[in-house]
Amino acid sequence: MRNFILRRLFLGVFISLFGAMVIYTTIRSLPTSYVETIARQRASNPLSTKTYQEWLDQLNQVYKLDVGIVPGFFGWLENAIQGDFGESWHYGIPVTEKFSQVIWYSVIINIITFIVQIFISIPLGILAARKQYSKTDYAITVFALMGISLPTFFLATILKYVFSIQLGWFDLYGLTGRFFNSMTPFEQAMDIGYHMVLPIFTLMMLSVGGLMRYTRTNMLEVLNSDYIRTARAKGLSERVVINKHAFRNTLIPLVSYMSYIIPSMFGGALITETLFQIPGIGYISFQAIIRGDIPFAMFYTTFIIVLTQISLLLADIMYAVVDPRVRAN
């Protein structure tokens, strides 16, 4: 087991490095960069004594863009390992500082979504499996497929149209209301929570379908297995059979499924946050990426890659923890 974890760890580090390098190469090959825009701005300033080219050279030197892609990447890597991700070009403050400002909004939204999602999809999935091919099952299946088939932006726009514009219950954009600054801390928390309702609902609707179907498939598999037949043959009540014997075994694959959610939990929901302009990590990175802010984009993508690797490792470990058969092998 220990050897296995070590091997996975090594592989994870290697893959993370590769991923970061691919992203770095792609960003560096952007033809018009943020630096050029800044250099043009500064050169056109009447007080500027330098030409555009001089500004460009100077900025390239400051941002280490004057070296080739490979040395540039290793230069970045060297700093990154020491925890120095540089200063965001777009936001003007150190990347890690911006990150710590915004990450918690995303985490809160995703954790709430995750909890709501579990409380809705697991019971519904089990219900659908127990009454396979019944009307309930079809209703739940269609609902789940609808959730999967809805594009995020369409659902979000519809929600905004209905709840923000037609009913006027929520604001269209943002995380805080108009009178946020004159509120007491408690009211401020309530205000933020209020603004998170629509984004959380959107995320929930989109993810509930997948988990529901996953639960249903696993539950069906478990219900068809021999030990459930044995349990029933023993004369156990249906409740005990389902809750004690079947449900617990359904949890095994679910645990691994849940580990995969970690990257999205900390990586933010890029599309949803952008649509509702929630200043979480997703929206902030979207802004940075489309503006060619290399330090921030590099930080964000590396962060996601590392999180993915951690979640994969965690999924394996959790699987072993939950299922004794895996440990034995």
Partner: protein, 586 residues
């Protein structure tokens, strides 16, 4: 839907009957017909799944709509609809004249330097001014009208000693007349019909004759007939008119022509001898915005009347008898006269009508037609991307699964590497790259397909590998080896077709996901670009809250089409999976 259970049972009984050894003994033709091919079995199971059939119907509709629809649509994808609307355009401008305008007498000149000196003298209330040895004198004829005269010095007088400036001596008559005028305190005296003026120059007095140079005034003269414009703008006419006005006369003569004046609040009309309108005098200047237009005096008169009456609207009937409405918008001291002009306008945001079932969009294009073409793009992108994914996946997965060992390990690590690249950031970066390079809209679609395909093949590779790992242990593979079939043929001819059913299931469900991804990119403005359409880029307009609120027909239909199509693919995918593998039962 409930009868699926029964149909499955039926199929199972059929199969068990066939397998029943007793029945097999009496195999007759009637029995033989009942044995279905595996493909037929799958098909039968599939069409008994109502959800799958619904999905199939949806997809059939979508394909018909997108690929056959344009044939019946009377419009083109990028056809812009224009219509005639009335737009308030600036037609003329009017301003209260606050600057003196000069009319120079025949044969004289009044240069800008002289004008400046005149204005200075006017400001300091001195009635003479000099410019480059020339001495000028001005008289106020009436409010805002100044007559400028040039003085020609004849003599200078200092302590009653006359010094001639011109000629040899100063005539006696002039001297006496001068002394008499000084005694009576007059500035002007007349000798032999010639007018002389006394001005002070330093300590000496100067006697000069005078002649008219120019007239400076605030009023504007507009002739009624263009042919009269020379007369009207002439010095004589203006001087006579001004003098007549100053003396409140109603009749006067210029060049032996008789004129009369008619006062009408704020403006004065000059009538000629026959009593018809000759010229218009006002202190409001009216100019056309477009210099090629000639504004008639009648029009100018009605503008002035409206301005004097502080009206914001007036109508004017031109010589052709057509009446048009004008509005006057005041900005500080200027008045803009606007006219409702018929203009060709792009019909944007038009509500659904019989000729445009889903209205017109922000570019004046038919929404329904764009949905059809957008559907082509969305569906094509989906199919080509899934094709690329499956192709790469089969090659990599097939090789990896067949050879196993270090090849497998290496290729699977390669798959892991690809898997680690975060999808959306990567696609966003590619989108910005394409924006920066200004890739043509059509090339952009193909690049987009390549990128989506390259980022998404790892799932297929894993499935293919897993299947082939178990399939290669089967007997038929031993047979192929014994038959000496070469490796590439063994993999792609004998192994891969066995994976196909699973791949078809995977691809069908995957299509929906790709359509969503493409639409999301389109919505973020990074996918298919104007003037081409895709369903996602059609919804893009809804990111503008104004459009979202007021024009539902521009984005809800596109969203519903995406939703239905993806739902259709998912239903069919589900149905296929059930049909291929009844044991799994979803």
């Amino acid at each position: 839907m409930a009868d699926i259970k029964n149909t499955n049972k039926d199929l199972e009984t059929e199969i068990t009957n066939i397998d029943d050894p007793q029945d097999e003994m009496h195999l007759d033709d009637a029995r033989r017909v009942k044995v279905l091919s595996p493909g037929m079995l799958v098909f039968k199971r599939f069409i008994r799944n109502k959800l799958a059939v619904v999905g199939l119907v949806i997809l059939f509709f979508m394909f018909t709509f997108s690929f056959l629809g344009p044939l019946f649509s009377p419009y083109e994808q990028t056809q812009v609809f224009k219509g005639v609307g009335s737009m308030s355009k600036e037609f003329a401008g009017a301003i209260y004249n606050e600057e003196l305008r000069y009319t120079v007498a025949d044969g004289e000149s009044f240069s800008s330097g002289e004008r400046a000196q005149f204005l200075l003298a006017l400001g300091s209330n001195t009635d003479t001014f000099t410019y480059e040895d020339n001495v000028f004198y001005y008289v106020q004829e009436s409010e805002g009208v100044y007559r400028i005269l040039q003085l020609d010095p004849v003599a200078e007088v200092l302590l009653k000693i006359f010094t001639p400036v011109k000629g040899d001596s100063v005539p006696k008559a002039l001297q006496t007349a001068y002394l008499k005028a000084v005694k009576e305190g007059e500035d002007v005296f007349v000798v032999d019909g010639e007018t002389y003026r006394i001005t002070q120059k330093n300590k000496a007095a100067q006697i000069s004759t005078e002649h008219d140079v120019a007239l400076a005034m605030l009023s504007v003269y507009d002739p009624y007939n263009e042919s009269d414009s020379d007369t009207v703008s002439s010095y004589q006419f203006k001087l006579a008119t001004t003098q007549a006005m100053a003396q409140d006369q109603t009749k006067y003569t210029v060049n032996s022509q008789n004129f009369s004046l008619r006062y009408d609040d704020g403006q004065v009309t000059v009538l000629d001898s026959s009593g018809s309108e000759y010229a218009e005098i006002s202190d409001i200047i009216v100019n056309p915005i477009d210099q090629s237009i000639f504004l008639t005096v009648d029009f100018k008169a009605s503008v002035r009347e409206a301005i004097n009456d502080r009206e914001t609207k007036f109508s004017y009937t031109d010589e052709n008898g057509e009446t048009e409405d004008y509005t006057i918008v005041r900005v500080n001291n200027t008045y803009n006269i606007k006219k409702e002009t018929p203009t060709e306008l792009i019909r944007t945001y038009e509500n659904p009508s019989a000729s445009h079932l889903l209205g017109l969009d922000n570019n004046g294009m038919d929404v329904a037609t764009r949905l059809m073409y957008g559907g082509q793009v969305s569906l094509l992108v989906g199919f080509i991307v899934i094709f690329i994914e499956v192709f790469i996946g089969i090659v990599i997965g097939g090789i990896s699964g067949y050879f196993g060992g270090w090849v497998d390990t290496a290729l699977m690590r390669f798959v892991d590497l690809f898997n680690s690249i975060p999808f959306y950031p990567m696609v966003l970066i590619f989108g910005s790259v394409m924006d920066a390079l200004e890739v043509a809209p059509r090339a952009r679609i193909f690049l987009l397909m390549m990128i989506l395909g390259l980022l998404g093949w790892t799932g297929v590779a894993r499935i293919v590998r897993g299947q082939i790992l178990s399939l290669r242990e089967l007997d038929f593979m031993v047979a192929t080896e014994a038959a000496g079939i070469r490796t590439s043929r063994r993999i792609f001819k004998h192994l891969v077709p066995n994976v196909m059913p699973l791949l078809i299931v995977y691809a069908t469900a995957g299509l929906g996901g790709i359509i969503i991804t493409e639409a999301t990119l389109g919505f973020l403005g990074l996918g298919v670009k104007y003037p081409l359409a895709s369903w996602g880029s059609i919804i893009n307009v809804a990111s503008d809250a104004f459009v979202m609120t007021n024009f539902w027909f521009m984005w809800i239909p596109a969203g519903m089409l995406i939703l239905l199509t993806v739902l259709g693919f998912n239903f069919v995918g589900d149905g296929l999976r059930d049909a291929y593998d009844p044991k799994m039962k979803r």
